[in-house]
Every structure is written in structure tokens, then in C-alpha cells.
């Protein structure tokens, strides 16, 4: 475990730095509540028009939406710009001279980059969505508390989701080393990640024929699968399967990322960049 020390230190330093952005977090809270309410109203309107049984109940849908807002920062929707700037300016030479693995370093940074803003939002968002909404008469829209088993399973799945998201973020950073024109394709990737993770609409609401494809992709493990565990759509028995999927995809993306990084660094060093 001693080998982990420098990585933990990096994570902790980044994490604490990002906790500074408190005022912005509070302001962002209001915006997220707004978006959440609009989304729930939209589903309310759709559900009003239908009388068939649906893949998810309205209450489950509302919880799903609020979870999405609470954990929004966990989604790999941006890359760590400091890293790409470092590579372009050549300051990455400092990092290469240090006795730590560059990929692990970036992975730790990505993890802090994802988790620190999340911690700032999760607690207030959850409190407001769970207890604040009933107070103003919008109890039907609330984030429903989970069952104890569901909650514990959810926690486990979210830890795996953090790892998966960090792996994807690190991969995005690595892709951005190659060229400044990569900005466009990276944004396109992010668009697809957003869609296929379940952030736009929950995956079960997509057409039935698309379900196998969506489950085959890695992104379901970021948002949809853990949230379905929370609302009870996935029974505790199915949880190990979910977590295994998440971890396997994480491992695959880590290997891909390491490979790309090695090739990318070789190129950077050769160019003297």
C-alpha cells in the first residue's frame, strides 16, 4: 500500500483545491433545481397522456431525475483543461521526471476533478429534493428515499461509476494531447456519452429494440444502472452483475488509455514539445 501514498496525496490536494468553488456551487444549485423541475414536469405531461404500463413509474422517474442532478459533476462531460495546457506548453516534462506513473497521476487528478464538485452538490441537492419539495406542496416530484438494501447497493455501484467516469475523463484528456483540432471530436464523444448514459432520458424509456445495444455500451454504467438500483428497478440480486460490468469496462478503458498515452508521450518527447 505504500506505493499508493503519492497518488492519495495528489488526489487529496486536487480535491481540496476544488472545494474552494463554493459560491459557484450554490448558484449552480438553483439552476439544477430549475432543470430538474422542468424535466419532471415534462415527464408528468407525457405520463398524463398515457394509460399503458410504462417501464418506470413516475415516482421512480422523478427520483432518477434528481439523482442525475445531484451527481451531475460525476459525468465525464469535460476534460481537465489544465492537463492539456500542460502538455502543449511542455510543462509535462516536469511530470515525466517524477518517479510516478503518468497515467496514474492523471487518473487521480481526474478522480478529484470529478468527485470534488460532486461532494459540494450532492448533500444540498439531496436534502432539497427529498425534503424541500414536499414542504412546498410538490411531494409528487420528490426524490424518494431508497430501501436500505437498495441504498447500500447503490453506494457500491456509484463507487464503480466514479472509477468508470475517471477512466473516461482520463481517456478524453489523452485524446486531447494529439491535436488542438481534437476539441470537436471530443465534444462529439461527450455528446454520445451523455445520451447513452441516460442523462438525456432514462435508458428504459428508449425504444425496446435499442435496449440490448444500450446495455452493451460502457456508458450505461455511469448513470442508468446505478440509478435503477436506487429506485429498485434492478433487484439487489442483479447488483453484482452491474458492478462487474462497470469494473470490466473501467479496466478496458484504463488499458486503452495507458496504451494511447505511451504512444502519445513518445510523440511529444520526440517533437520536443
Amino acid at each position: 500500500m505504500r506505493g499508493m501514498k503519492p497518488y492519495l496525496a495528489i488526489f487529496s490536494a486536487r480535491f481540496r483545491m476544488m472545494l474552494q468553488y463554493r459560491a459557484a456551487a450554490i448558484a449552480g444549485l438553483w439552476t439544477q433545481i430549475f432543470f430538474g423541475m422542468v424535466m419532471i414536469m415534462t415527464y408528468e405531461a407525457f405520463y398524463h397522456s398515457t394509460h399503458q404500463p410504462e417501464p418506470m413509474s413516475f415516482a421512480q422517474l422523478a427520483s432518477y431525475v434528481w439523482l442525475g442532478q445531484a451527481f451531475l459533476a460525476l459525468l465525464p462531460w469535460n476534460a481537465d483543461l489544465e492537463v492539456t495546457a500542460m502538455v502543449r506548453s511542455g510543462a509535462v516534462a516536469y511530470e515525466l521526471c517524477r518517479p510516478i506513473d503518468l497515467y496514474n497521476l492523471w487518473f487521480m487528478r481526474a478522480m478529484a476533478w470529478r468527485t470534488a464538485p460532486t461532494v459540494l452538490r450532492v448533500v444540498p441537492m439531496t436534502l432539497l429534493a427529498m425534503f424541500g419539495l414536499p414542504l412546498i406542496g410538490l411531494g409528487a416530484w420528490r426524490l424518494h428515499p431508497p430501501t436500505p438494501a437498495g441504498g447500500a447497493a447503490f453506494a457500491g455501484a456509484m463507487i464503480c461509476a466514479v472509477l468508470l467516469s475517471s477512466a473516461i475523463t482520463t481517456l478524453l484528456n489523452i485524446i486531447l494531447i494529439w491535436t488542438i483540432s481534437a476539441n470537436g471530436p471530443v465534444v462529439m464523444l461527450i455528446a454520445l456519452v451523455t445520451l447513452f448514459s441516460g442523462m438525456v432520458i432514462p435508458l428504459p424509456l428508449f425504444p425496446d429494440w435499442s435496449q440490448p445495444i444500450l446495455m452493451a455500451l460502457p456508458f450505461a454504467g455511469l448513470v442508468d444502472l446505478p440509478y435503477r438500483i436506487y429506485v429498485g428497478k434492478i433487484a439487489p440480486g442483479g447488483v453484482p452483475d452491474v458492478m462487474l460490468r462497470q469494473l470490466l469496462w473501467t479496466a478496458a478503458l484504463v488499458l486503452l488509455g495507458r496504451w494511447l498515452l505511451k504512444r502519445g508521450m513518445r510523440r511529444v518527447v520526440v517533437q520536443g514539445g
Partner: protein, 266 residues
């Protein structure tokens, strides 16, 4: 050179700067288009499952969606100077604008015209065209005028919200994000006809921040549809003027903010 001429001069400079990186720009615009288009893919999936939305069909919703996105794209591109004004005040760079014998509004609007928003505009226009085509609505002069009417009113309204956001930076530069609920959030909720929302929500966005006036009402006229809320057609044509009025009020508040900035110092 008068104020309008100066504005175009500024914009020319901004555009040339962005087009320097042509390949990167095209890819970025495409990326921006895709990331905004995924919203519509979600809407498609929902209509595929539910069939209709409180009496509204998919093609009709597509028209609302298209106009909301086209309006947002244009406003976002034009009002960028106001969007990032918080940074300018923090850095103390606003004095630089005050030392020039020109209107601060023209100088701020001329700061940048973010061209890559054309990605969002293009996908919005495509969805709009598809919607109109699916409804078998013939293109007529009336439709064109209503479209321009709605988009112009919407651009005025959204720009007005950004002006208010920038004005609030004179008091505090910390919590400017709250306004995102009305700009990005407003564009988000305009994708759907406003009748699907709860009454109190709808009323706020009709009378306080009149997003419904620049989208919902004129689109009703385009669709030749009876308004479930019972508004007369004349109102539907004139409603976008509310956006213009909003901008006028916002600019007055801006002037007040500048006066206060000059009295209290930075």
C-alpha cells in the same frame, strides 16, 4: 463611424480571429451541433413511446424545439460579451471601455460573435424544417414573417437576460450562475409548448420573463392552431414584442448599473 458601423467592424475582427483555425472550427461547430441535438433524440424516443404530449404531436413539438434552438444559438453567439462580463469586472478591464468615447453596450456586444454556435442553429433549423414538412404546412409569407418575428423577439429577450446577468456583476461577481436557469434553462423549457407545464410555471414565463411570448404564441399562429389558453390570433402575432420591451428595460437597468459602478468605484 457611427455606433452600428463600429459594431460591424468589431464583429468582422472577431470572425476573422475565429476562422483562423478553420478545421478546428468546423469540427467544433459539428460537435456543438451534436451535443445540442441529443436533446431532440431524447424527445424522439419519448414520443415513440408515448405517442403524444397533452394533445401535441411530435412534428408540432419539433417546430417549438427548432425555434427555441435557433433563437438560443443566435443569442448565445451575439451576447457573449455580456455572458463573460463577470470576468471583465473582476479583472478591472471595464475601465478600458469607459475611457473610450463610445457606448459600453456596443463595445461589449462587439467583443465576440461566437461562430461555432452555428452548430446548434443548424440542427435547430433542420428539426424545424422537418417538423413543418411533416405537418404539410406550405411555406408562405405569413410563416416566414412569423418565424422571423419569433426568433427576433426571442433574441431580444435572451440578450436582455444576459444584459441583466452582466449588470448584476456590478454588485457581485460570485453568483452569476443563477442566471443560467433563465438563459439555458429558458431555452430548455421552450423546446416544448408551454401548456404542458404547471400553471404557475407557465404564468411566470408569460408575464415575468416572457419566453412564452416569443415562442409559444407565434408558433401557434404558424401551426394555425387554436390556443388551448384562448389567445386571439392578433396577440399571437404581436407577442414577440414583449421580448423587445424586455430588452429595453434591461438596457435601462444596465445604464443604472454603470452609473452605480462609476459612483462607488471598482
Amino acid at each position: 463611424m457611427n455606433e452600428l458601423g463600429l459594431y460591424f467592424r468589431y464583429i468582422g475582427v472577431s470572425i476573422r480571429g475565429q476562422l483562423q483555425y478553420r478545421v478546428s472550427f468546423v469540427l467544433y461547430a459539428l460537435g456543438h451541433g451534436l451535443i445540442t441535438f441529443v436533446e431532440f433524440l431524447g424527445i424522439l424516443a419519448l414520443f415513440h413511446r408515448f405517442g403524444q404530449l397533452r394533445g401535441w404531436t411530435l412534428p408540432e413539438t419539433a417546430v417549438f424545439y427548432g425555434i427555441a434552438n435557433m433563437t438560443m444559438a443566435i443569442s448565445d453567439a451575439f451576447a457573449r460579451g455580456f455572458d463573460v462580463f463577470g470576468n471583465m469586472v473582476k479583472a478591472g478591464d471595464f475601465d478600458r471601455l469607459l475611457v473610450r468615447p463610445r457606448s459600453t453596450v456596443v463595445q461589449l456586444m462587439g467583443q465576440e460573435l461566437t461562430l461555432r454556435r452555428v452548430g446548434r442553429f443548424a440542427q435547430g433549423a433542420a428539426v424545424l424544417a422537418w417538423g413543418l414538412h411533416s405537418l404539410h404546412l406550405a411555406w408562405s409569407l405569413a410563416t416566414a414573417i412569423l418565424l422571423i418575428d419569433a426568433v427576433a423577439g426571442g433574441v431580444c429577450l435572451l440578450t436582455g437576460i444576459w444584459v441583466l446577468q452582466a449588470t448584476s456583476a456590478f454588485w457581485t461577481t460570485e453568483s452569476l450562475e443563477v442566471w443560467n436557469a433563465f438563459t439555458y434553462g429558458g431555452a430548455f423549457m421552450s423546446q416544448y409548448p408551454v401548456t404542458i407545464y404547471r400553471p404557475w410555471f407557465r404564468q411566470f414565463f408569460t408575464f415575468v420573463i416572457p419566453l412564452a411570448c416569443v415562442n409559444y404564441f407565434p408558433v401557434l399562429a404558424i401551426l394555425h392552431r387554436e390556443d388551448p389558453l384562448g389567445s386571439p390570433e392578433a396577440f399571437q402575432w404581436l407577442a414577440p414584442l414583449a421580448g423587445v420591451a424586455f430588452l429595453m428595460v434591461a438596457l435601462q437597468v444596465w445604464k443604472f448599473g454603470v452609473r452605480r459602478y462609476r459612483s462607488t468605484g471598482s
